[in-house]
């Protein structure tokens, strides 16, 4: 068959392209959007599931900010059992892998969810350790290296074969610490970054919107996380945060990402998947690079041909 230039492996998961729908921005893949070319998509991450159903937060859940947006959806979801009954088997897009995103307030909850999913034959789980909207008073799991380690390890211990992705918050003093903890706990893949904690003010209605910042505004923050973590870990990284063009995607790859999480950029540009796909193909051709995996980290490792010294 020859080389498939955009194919990537994340743990035991083979994706035909490195382009992944990030969690929370594509529901469960059940909405049919005929402007999306699924042939160019590697995987869909589901909205984060919790054990019990969650109603989510009141309005407003969305606030636009300069080159970005704040969301405080509050993990609205039907709970894992309803998800398995009604949603899991309807996610069935030919050639597109499904990653089930899960989250729990304690290790027990996360274990129970994993148990149920593993029994259903789910083979890729993303552990959302960083949702900033729920339990506002408490810290997020991925704000502590110890908690990060224990949560990841708990899931890993249940099943050694699933591809386990740990998704981390950027709201930490040093993200390489939580990244190393997740790796040590047995994560196969890291996803960097989740939204950045933020507040907006609705001057007109005199209210405050607390939530997570996403979009182009946070790209420099996501890039930095990948840049720093790539130097320290051995496992692959999904780069997420502010990707709205093919060039953004390439920037993440050159700094160390093996795959790309497409988040709110999809709302802005419905053809984003195509755009990234063609940009990456063109980049490989132009630079005579055989596979996108060969481009990962090129700039970080200063191995990029023609890279300027400083």
């Amino acid at each position: 068959m020859g080389i498939k230039p955009l194919e990537v492996k994340l743990g035991r998961l083979s994706l035909k392209t490195p382009i992944i729908m990030a969690s929370g921005i594509f529901s469960y893949g059940e909405v049919n959007l005929n402007y999306i070319d699924y042939k160019k998509l590697g995987a869909i991450t589901t909205k984060t599931m919790t054990f019990n159903p969650k109603k989510g937060n009141p309005q407003p859940r969305i606030w636009e900010t300069p080159s970005g947006m704040i969301n405080c959806i509050g993990l609205q979801n039907p709970g894992i059992k309803e998800f398995i009954k009604k949603k899991l088997y309807s996610i069935n897009i030919s050639g597109v892998k499904t990653i089930v995103s899960i989250s729990g307030e304690n290790i027990d909850e996360v274990k129970r969810i994993t148990d149920l999913l593993v029994k259903q034959g789910v083979n890729a789980i993303e552990l959302n350790l960083s949702c900033p909207n729920v339990n506002r008073e408490n810290m997020m799991v991925s704000q502590s290296p110890d908690d990060t380690y224990s949560f990841v390890k708990a899931v890993r211990d249940i099943d050694g074969d699933i591809t386990l992705i740990a998704k981390l918050s950027p709201n930490v003093t040093d993200i390489t610490e939580t990244a190393l903890a997740a790796e040590k706990g047995g994560a196969d893949v890291l996803n960097l970054i989740n939204t950045v904690k933020a507040v907006a003010v609705d001057i007109e209605k005199k209210r405050i919107i607390e939530g997570g910042l996403s979009g182009p505004a946070i790209k420099p923050i996501g890039l930095r996380a990948v840049f720093d973590v790539y130097k320290k870990v051995q496992i692959p990284i999904i780069g997420t945060g502010g990707i709205t063009t093919g060039q953004d995607a390439l920037e993440y790859i050159l700094l160390g990402a093996s795959a790309l999480g497409i988040g709110s950029g999809l709302f802005s540009n419905p053809y984003l998947i195509d755009k990234i796909y063609h940009y990456l193909i063109k980049f490989l051709k132009k630079n005579n690079i055989k596979k996108i995996t060969n481009a990962t980290g090129l700039l970080n490792e200063k191995k990029y041909k023609g890279a300027e010294k400083r």
């Binding site: 909405v31 402007y35 909205k47 989510g56 309005q59 407003p60 709302f267 802005s268």
Partner: protein, 254 residues
């Protein structure tokens, strides 16, 4: 759901802060009244939703008010510029052959989807009474109102038609003229709530078009939800996908 570029044919000022945007282009799936389009207005990150105010082959009409930053920029757009649209989105107004005597109740730009609906209902020879409320007479764009319809105007300051709120006028009208088969409504939340109260009181079918801030506009982000009654109380449903049109009975009014 399609994502397409439409070309601006005309973008004209009507009255006060109200504009009419006429676009050239078409969707494969013919839009129905109550559906909306999600428009990209540079340089804003998020799209902006607007009801479809009219649709024919290769022609789409939007009625909009300058409400803030993006609509301000939209008003400056010129003929022949291209706009990226996602649509037609949402469920649209349900219609029923049996409903012959129809009341439309519009407040402000909430009139937009009702203009499209009126055209459709006229073809079905419905008997339409159109309640249209605005702040003052200056805010009413007379030249966009369809013919062959019975109008009941009202303004907050009484400068045109009745003085008072659409809901109150409608209620009085019902008391004097009897109930319709159905009420369709679009406008501010408080007004829609009033319509819901009236429909409940008279046990009428009534449908309202809700508005909420949106991110995706196609049902995948759960940003635009509103409380809808269900067997165990209420749940958050998506205005963009499960709506924007809801039966007034379903909505948990706040």
């Amino acid at each position: 759901m399609e994502a397409k570029r439409f070309k601006i044919r005309r973008n004209i000022w009507l009255t006060e802060k109200l504009y009419l945007l006429e676009l050239e282009g078409s969707f494969n799936q013919t839009p129905i009244p109550g559906q909306f389009v999600h428009i990209k207005i540079e340089p804003f990150f998020l799209r902006r939703p607007f009801s479809i105010a009219g649709y024919k082959d290769n022609y789409l009409k939007i009625l909009y008010r300058i409400a803030g930053r993006a609509t301000d920029i939209l008003a400056q757009k010129k003929e022949d510029e291209l706009l990226g649209l996602i649509g037609p989105s949402g469920n649209g107004f349900p219609v029923n052959k049996k409903w012959e005597n129809v009341y439309l109740a519009a407040g402000g730009t909430g009139i937009a989807p009702l203009l499209f609906l009126a055209e459709t209902l006229k073809k079905k020879n419905c008997n339409i009474t159109f309640f249209y409320g605005a702040r003052t007479s200056d805010c009413i764009a007379f030249n966009i109102l369809p013919y062959g319809v019975n109008y009941v105007f009202s303004t907050d300051d009484g400068s045109y038609g009745y003085k008072g709120l659409v809901g109150d006028i409608l209620k009085r009208y019902i008391m004097e003229n009897g109930v319709p088969d159905v009420i369709y409504s679009g406008g501010p939340y408080e007004m829609l709530r009033k319509i819901a109260e009236i429909s409940k009181k008279y046990n009428l079918s009534a449908f309202v078009s809700l508005e909420n801030r949106m991110a995706c506009g196609v049902g995948i982000c759960y940003g635009c939800v509103t409380k809808i009654k269900c067997k165990d109380g209420w749940e958050y449903k998506r205005v963009c996908k499960d709506g924007p049109v809801f039966n007034t009975e379903e909505v948990l009014w706040e």
